[in-house]
């Protein structure tokens, strides 16, 4: 069992990245023309990597299951992107961004990677502005910043509530420039179904053309996976319907270790489920918690009256409401981090206080904010003794300026007016911090197979701070991978074109065809979605926000059983050799049914509570933190990297011990 070598540079953390860049090998520009790179996924990470690699001179083949690179789910990110520019002169620095990210991740990330992330964060903003990304600006014409996720500085750059969209379109435009030059060959509506390993190195992929059903072979000197996260293992999440783990999982089955699969971020402010028909959950930006107060009724009678429609939430007086976050966490109140807010909502709903028909919703109330802003606006405008109606009108106007598009979106989905009736929210799966294990060069444990963005186990440890996912995706793609991949490819300049008629390709293609034919031949009784929904229920109930040993063991058993049933009873109508949307779903769900079990196994193994991951057996027993998550730095200060051994349940654990030289480990307290 080889020890995991993170290849993290030595020396002072501030000089590591510069030193590393100076030390690694380079590929001469003339030779880059002879080297092919495959990039899977065209989101912020994949898109920026493809553009940068092509820019440097490599021949890039990029793959997306969507009909255009612009549709990758990075587009849905709302809030913003962090960078330690210190434009606001509030004392920000690379070190502070590094520190906040490591602390926010509950001390489960690799210091050197996170420092590098902070170091290149400023470049991202420069790059994006130069590309024509229309960030928000102030009246002086300079870039505006907002504060996010409870940190002490304003370092978040944003473009209204559509920052992800604007950044992705920036990367997409950079890609387009290279596609036009022929440096990127774009394969839309193609899905990678297998990684091809030749002589121990990643040398290509087997992909399915989703329009014709054709199975294609593509070779390259290196394969970069930037296919995003696997939140859809929960069925309901804020991910896109097509988001999946297949590319990463296929690499895992070919030898790439899968790290921290159980690290999932559950976002506290999403629109609740309205019924069984629901296919996905919609996020409401975290920024709403700056002005909204979260509550449920104090008494069960009121809960029932609200559910049955006899009472409206606005009928309840202040005394009849339980502002549970303010009660439990007086210091941070409604602005506790995402993981804490989510768990507290679940605790109330589990206790029976959920306020909608499904019992899974709490109120997010803007009444106080409307009053406060209304009075302030009246004073500013010189309106003395304003009427209560006038105050509400003023206040609602201020709220509209800040969150208008979110309120409109809520209204379209739920059909109630959040200006007059409190919003209902509930936590939902949003992001996965786990993913393929990578070293400092972003290479997985398979030589020549790289992993970037949300797909790798990344820089966020056990919990991600707001506005840092966009930062990581673009950092990996624009500024890290394009350098580090050269270190590997420098030895490939004499390799020549990788042939696709080798036995390795034959075998990989056959395995894909066999798998697809098997799926089509089952002709059972259940649709793919019923399996996916059932998997999601096990994941949410047994491996979700709060977990315990018995539940996780149960989850592993149930998921394994479900997987066996899937391979005996799934029904996929249509053809193998043409567009078949059910077959596409089936290949993805088949892999999620394996990942789900590993997820539960990882959660079972990690007998501590940390970050977004709450283990019921690991809670503070005494003192002011009684009942809160208890992290165990003595036994679990490591990255769990799982090696595939034939069955997800048989995976073997490898530990990368984490060292904290520049940051002192502390307990997070929000009381």
């Amino acid at each position: 069992m080889a020890k995991l070598d993170s290849k993290a540079p030595t020396g002072p953390i501030k000089e590591q990245w510069t030193k590393h860049k100076n030390d690694i090998q380079l590929v001469n520009p003339a030779n880059k023309r002879n080297i092919d790179i495959i990039v899977i996924g065209t989101g912020l990470a994949g898109g920026s990597a493809a553009a940068s690699l092509a820019e440097m001179g490599y021949n890039v083949k990029a793959f997306a299951y969507q009909d255009s690179p612009r549709r990758a789910h990075s587009i849905a990110a709302q809030g913003g992107i962090n960078a330690s520019k210190n434009y606001q002169n509030d004392g920000d620095s690379n070190y502070r961004l590094f520190y906040d990210t490591v602390k926010g991740g509950d001390y489960r990330s690799r210091e050197s990677n996170v420092y590098r992330l902070a170091e290149v964060s400023g470049n991202i903003i420069d790059q994006c502005v130069a590309q024509g990304v229309p960030f928000a600006r102030d009246y002086g014409g300079l870039l505006d910043n907002r504060s996010f996720g409870g940190v002490l500085v304003s370092r978040t750059f944003y473009a209204k509530g559509q920052t992800g969209q604007q950044l992705l379109l920036g990367a997409y435009s950079a890609m387009n420039r290279q596609i036009a030059k022929g440096k990127i060959q774009m394969y839309n509506r193609h899905e990678m179904l297998e990684l091809v390993i030749v002589d121990g190195k990643a040398r290509g992929i087997i992909a399915r053309n989703l329009i014709t059903g054709e199975i294609e072979r593509h070779s390259a000197h290196a394969v970069v996976i930037g296919s995003g996260g696997y939140g859809n293992v929960f069925y309901l999440s804020t991910n896109a319907m097509g988001s999946n783990v297949t590319a990463a999982w296929r690499a895992h089955k070919k030898g790439a270790y899968f790290a921290n699969p159980c690290y999932t971020q559950i976002h506290p402010t999403c629109i609740p489920r309205s019924g069984d028909h629901q296919s996905k959950l919609t996020l409401m930006s975290e920024s709403l918690r700056n002005d909204g107060r979260i509550w449920v009724p104090k008494s069960m009678e009121d809960v029932e009256a609200i559910r049955s429609g006899k009472k409206k939430p606005i009928d309840l007086s202040e005394e009849e409401r339980d502002y549970y976050l303010e009660r439990r966490y007086p210091a941070f109140g409604n602005l506790v981090p995402r993981d804490v807010a989510s768990r507290a909502a679940k605790e109330r709903c589990d206790a029976g206080y959920g306020v909608n028909a499904t019992g899974e919703a709490v109120f997010l109330d803007f009444k106080s904010a409307i009053q406060r802003y209304g009075k302030e606006k009246a004073l500013v405008d010189g309106v003395h003794n304003p009427s209560p109606e006038k105050i509400i009108e003023f206040g609602a106007g201020v709220i509209k300026d800040k969150y208008g598009n979110l309120f409109q979106m809520y209204n379209k989905i739920v059909d109630t007016d959040p200006y007059t009736t409190p919003m209902m929210i509930y936590p939902a799966v949003h992001y996965t911090m786990g993913g393929l294990w990578v070293d400092y060069n972003l290479m997985t444990t398979i030589p020549g197979c790289y992993c970037i963005g949300e797909a790798n186990f990344s820089d966020h440890g056990a919990n991600r701070l707001g506005a840092s996912a966009l930062m990581q995706g673009l950092a990996d793609g624009y500024f890290v991978l394009p350098y580090t991949i050269g270190d590997y490819l420098a030895d490939e300049i004499r390799t020549g074109v990788i042939p696709t008629d080798s036995p390795a390709f034959d075998e990989a293609e056959k395995s894909v065809k066999d798998r697809l034919e098997k799926l089509m031949s089952i002709n059972g009784s259940r649709s793919v979605d019923t399996f996916h929904k059932e998997l999601g229920k096990y994941m949410w109930n047994l491996a979700g926000m709060a977990r315990n040993e018995a539940g996780l063991k149960e989850a592993m058993v149930n998921i394994k059983k479900l997987r066996e049933e899937f391979w005996q009873d799934v029904r996929i109508p249509g053809d193998l050799n043409s567009m078949n949307t059910e077959l596409e779903k089936a290949t993805r769900v088949a892999d999620m049914l394996e990942l789900g079990e590993l997820f539960a196994k990882d959660a079972l193994e990690r007998r501590e509570s940390c970050g977004g991951h709450f283990r019921e057996e690991s809670v503070e027993q005494d003192g002011p933190q009684k009942g809160e998550a208890l992290r165990d730095d003595v036994n679990f200060k490591f990255v769990s990297a799982w090696e595939y051994k034939g069955e997800p349940g048989d995976a073997v654990l490898h530990k990368e011990e984490l060292e904290f030289k520049d940051i002192e480990l502390k307990t997070r307290s929000y009381k």
Binding site: P69, Q127, F135, R137, Q165, L169, N176, A240, K280, K412
Partner: protein, 253 residues
């Protein structure tokens, strides 16, 4: 939250095996549709029913289901993205329809958007237009000047942002009686024309993008304004006027 009861609906949906085959409208029934479900969730119910009957589900494009990826693209009851305003198909909710209603669902119709299957069309023409010039030609080295080196008036930045919110769904083409892509192209041309970073290549960009737009077989704009009305992101016709100015300017000088 609606008090309305569940609905039974008749659906008339375009079915077409592949690009080469002829297609036709087929009739389906769905029952017990919650008014709180989205239009695509109603389609999910239909497809589950079809799978249960061992029939092939209706293929339709969709992904993020929160109105930002631009994938979903249904022509519903004679309108792109259906009868609501400022929404994509995935944000359209069934409370906009009545129990017993017959709903016609068709793919986007344009020569430049050939049908791939059922309700899915090929919008790669949009990508090719962007490839013709929808970018700023700067390397991705990060070694550009500082982000705050060039102040940009807030109004220009905000207007550029409004143009940049285009999601590339194609509703403009679908609803234009001429199947013109002007609003889509104009949004990108405008975004860059308004920013100093984009001005350097402005002339080349507009000429190349318009040329590519024409080559793709889109129709000619006749200023009916249907695109602006049906655009889920409410991209303004002003963008087209701006592109016309840019083009005129680029052609004369």
């Amino acid at each position: 939250m609606s008090e309305k009861r569940d609905m039974d609906l008749t659906l008339k949906i375009w079915r077409q095996k592949d690009a080469k085959s002829a297609g036709k409208l087929e009739t389906f029934q769905v029952k017990n549709i919650s008014p709180d479900s989205s239009f695509l969730e109603m389609m999910d119910v239909l497809n589950e029913d079809l799978v249960a009957q061992n029939q092939e589900p209706v293929a339709f494009d969709h992904d993020c289901r929160e109105g930002i990826c631009g994938t979903c693209s249904l022509h519903i009851q004679g309108e792109a993205h259906g009868p609501d305003r400022a929404v994509t198909t995935c944000q359209l909710h069934m409370r906009k329809f009545k129990h017993g209603e017959t709903i016609h669902i068709e793919p986007w119709r344009a020569k430049a958007f050939p049908v791939i299957k059922d309700l899915i069309v090929d919008r790669s023409a949009f990508d090719r237009i962007q490839q013709a010039g929808g970018f700023v030609s700067i390397p991705t080295s990060g070694n550009t000047q500082d982000a705050n080196a060039i102040p940009i008036p807030k109004d220009d930045a905000d207007t550029a942002f409004d143009s940049a919110t285009c999601i590339g769904c194609g509703a403009c083409v679908a609803s234009c009686k001429n199947a013109s892509a002007m609003l889509f192209v104009a949004a990108k041309v405008s975004q860059f024309a308004l920013l100093p970073q984009g001005k350097v290549e402005a002339k080349r960009r507009v000429l190349h993008m318009v040329k590519q737009m024409d080559e793709e077989g889109f129709g000619n704009c006749t200023n009916t304004g249907a695109c602006e009305v049906e655009c889920p992101k409410e991209i303004s016709l002003e963008n087209i006027a701006r592109m016309n100015r840019e083009y005129l300017n680029a052609s004369i000088k």
